[in-house]
Amino acid sequence: MALRTSPEVGGMGHSIKRKEDPRFIRGKGTYVDDVQLPGMLYLDIVRSPHAHAKIVKIDSAKALATPGVLAVITGQDLAKYNLHWMPTLMSDTQMVLPVEKVMYQAQEVAAVLATSRYAAADGAAVVEVEYDPLPVVVDPHKALLPGAPVLRTDKKDKKDNHIWHWEWGDRAATDRAIAEADVTVKQDIYLPRIHVASIETCGCIAHFDKVDGKLTVWMTTQAPHAIRTVFALVAGHVGLEEHKIRIISPDIGGGFGGKVPVYPGYVIAVAASVLTGKPVKWIEDRMENLQADSFARDYHITAELAAKKDGTLIALRIKTLADHGYADAAANPSKFPAGLFHVCTGSYDLKAAHVEVDGVYTNKPPGGIAYRCSFRVTEAVHTIERMTDLMAHQLNMDPAELRMKNFIKPEQFPYKSALGWEYDSGNYAGALRKAMDMIGYADLRREQVEKRTRGVLMGIGISSFTEIVGAGPSKHFDILGLKMFDSCEMRIHPTGKAIARFGTKSQGQGHETTYAQILAEELGIPAKDIQIEEGDTDTAPYGLGTYASRSTPVAGAAAAMAARKIRDKARKIAAHLLEVAEDDLEWEPGKFSVKGAPGKSKTIQDIAFAAYTNHPQGMEAGLEAVSYYDPPNLTYPFGSYICVVDLDSGTGEVKVRRFVAIDDCGNIINPMIVQGQVHGGLTMGLAPALFEEISYDEHGNVQGGSFIDYLVPTAVETPKWETGHTVTPSPHHPLGAKGVGESATVGAPAAIANAVVDALWHLGVRHVDIPITPAKVWKLLREHGVTG
């Protein structure tokens, strides 16, 4: 896309430096735990050592005798206000604090309120809870067996652990196509529980002002407006009505989906503040964060892919068990309990597909949210990309060739997939070709052949993913009934400077910079002259927040539309000032000129001043607009990644030698920021591919509950990413943009897994579940006769 603005204006396509950085590099950001109010109290939480147990007794005496401790709050206390249970975003219910039993290890059991952080922890350490252990259900397959203990005994008519069944696509046509196919491949794929592990954990300060009855909550949330509404719906009956609730989401130290749900700690802090009239701070520690907050994935998938002998892919069938823990606390659009998993036909022109998912209760924390991904898209991409590779190897075709043969062609867009999505635009072959050229694909294949003759293990893996982001059109997309539009409200001041506020909330994506660039592009006002604000529900327009790569596709579009409304009014004012008809004016970023007389013009700054000092009679003064943007479709970013791995046959270690990522997110707002998003996303793709997993033993004890054994990659394990892009604009987005924050997280794991299997295929290895740890590879090598 050609640049339409100067570097000084800094519209679309300029790598301008970020406006948020000056405070962050000085340590002057304001994160939730940095807020300290006079008289503030601290909350600490007592958590269950058992995965499933009756609560026989909670003895608070010792805690209450601890210096500084003011109160111990239990489920019984909250039950008096009917606040001991709360709804999840998926219209299930979860406990705030238990009255009868606990359902997972690390579940909240009681809360201690004290005058200091340390006193609260002292108190929590001596709350004595007597438990009566119950049988634990860890495996979702076993949870569905007849005779399995029914976990949700709170639900009167519940006779099993099955939450919901959901299916999509043409079952009969898919079954027929698979039965008649020349070749089929079938594979069980497990995508384990993982955790976003943003470096800032979750927390809040709730401050209820007893005089004016207003609750202010500084909170680590990606969706402040929706949270305000949820609070009002849950606590309206105790006097917390929506106009008396203010949610402030200050600087957020990484979100990635983990800061979308409402966690019990927030609700307890609010209740404690309402009861005491004092500000109450709750900040979870890392172990609480990993062990109790919403997890991602935990999908047990069985997939079958069918093809003709010549490699033409024809049909895909998927069955999945979704382990949701003891409550479905996912953050999905309400119509889609498995999120957008049915984008699983990926980048390929498949004629038939059918997908079914069953949600299951187990004794684990409730979830699942996304891990930097738009509603289960990673699960979909991993499945189709693993299956495509399996098919290629089965047919003895090069995986790149099989992909090229089956890609949806550029001329097929807009493309209606077998599962009903309308892909907006794409050039999949272009991206893969560019990645192959950049990495030197043919040479690598030759090197691999040569190395195999010497017993050296090297693999090449491809992932040609298609994402689906920017939820979403109100016809199909809502969360708890709230339609998934988003918003921008812009005001231009008399001197031509501006402020714009949004319904989203940046957690590192750089909205203060990129939104200003969009507005600069549309109005010609320099990005540095536009202040961007988000995250305060008292000032920002209502919106559904930042997750699922929706900020650019939805709120970014709202910015363009608000700016265009302002431009329409500016045209009227310019015509008045220049004493010409509106039709006689032409726009270039920053000014209106009279057609044929370019010297006769008014800048946007002149017009802004006139809007307050010399506006036409009969027109309202001022220059501002608001847009609530309801996208007509989702956007479909895509890319092709190629990864080269070397395997150490002695230790089983997988070393990523090179990783080339070609992304296409449509028109680019800020190339520097886009590249940064891809770097980060790739690292959050590497992490679950090789290192991260939260698993449970048969008693429901969490493994991977601290950074000691939940292995977030450091700079040493992280390869030097090589990135590039192609540009295929979205035809329906006002800026032609698509969103990019999550593409790399979605696309990378399959490339790495495919590379490892590619290295081991000749030994008879067909699949490895992620994370591909040295232990797993070492075991596989020994099973297949490689002794190092």
């Binding site: 430096k17 970020r18 948020e20 950085d21 000056p22 405070r23 962050f24 590099i25 000085r26 340590g27 002057k28 950001g29 304001t30 994160y31 735990d33 940095d34 300290q36 952080r117 340390y118 976003v196 592990a197 943003s198 470096i199 800032e200 954990t201 600087d251 957020i252 130290g253 990484g254 990635f256 520690d285 890392r286 172990m287 957690q507 590192g508 994506q509 750089g510 520097m672 920021i673 590249q675 940064g676 770097h679 980060g680 996303g681 790739l682 690292t683 959050m684 601290s706 950074f707 000691i708 977030v712 450091t714 700079a715 040493v716 992280t718 030097k720 990413w721």
Partner: protein, 156 residues
């Protein structure tokens, strides 16, 4: 217990519980909130500060252990209104996103560049391996440290 210490060149005294962590002394008693907390196990490095010039993770140092020491936090990098070259490089090379790990990265990078003035990429990656970043994928952090090294040597 009474502790006396110097932070960013300024003398401070405080009465503290023996168990008070240094990070809480800095953040809550002295309101130097640039130093962050990201874990409880000395893994993430968001709380890194310099004690007598050496990077330490202030979530696992008691305030009393800092008695009589010279401390430096992220707030001490800027001198007389002039940013340290490392801070400038983090901005110019896009070495930060959410900003949460940034103060720890800056302090680790600052101490590292005192010792190693011409670091290789691998040197830098090893040096910052005690600091986790979830946003950047480290590429631009490495570049920022390299860039700062050149600047500190009087280069561009």
């Amino acid at each position: 217990m009474r502790v006396q210490l110097s932070i960013n060149g300024e003398k401070h005294e405080a009465d503290v519980e023996p168990r008070l962590l240094l990070v809480h002394l800095l953040r809550e008693n002295l309101r130097l909130t640039g130093t962050h907390i990201g874990c409880d196990t000395t893994h993430c490095g968001a709380c890194t500060v310099l004690m007598d010039g050496r990077p330490v993770k202030s979530c696992t140092v008691f305030a009393v252990q800092a008695n009589g020491r010279q401390l430096m936090t992220v707030e001490g990098l800027e001198q007389d209104g002039k940013l340290h070259p490392l801070q400038e490089s983090f901005m110019s090379e896009h070495g930060l996103q959410c900003g949460y790990c940034t103060p720890g990265m800056l302090m680790t990078g600052y101490a590292f560049l005192q010792k190693n003035t011409k670091p290789s990429e691998d040197d830098i990656r090893r040096a910052i391996s005690g600091n986790l970043c979830r946003c950047t994928g480290y590429v631009n952090i490495v570049k920022a440290v390299q860039h700062a090294a050149v600047k500190l040597q009087g280069g561009a």
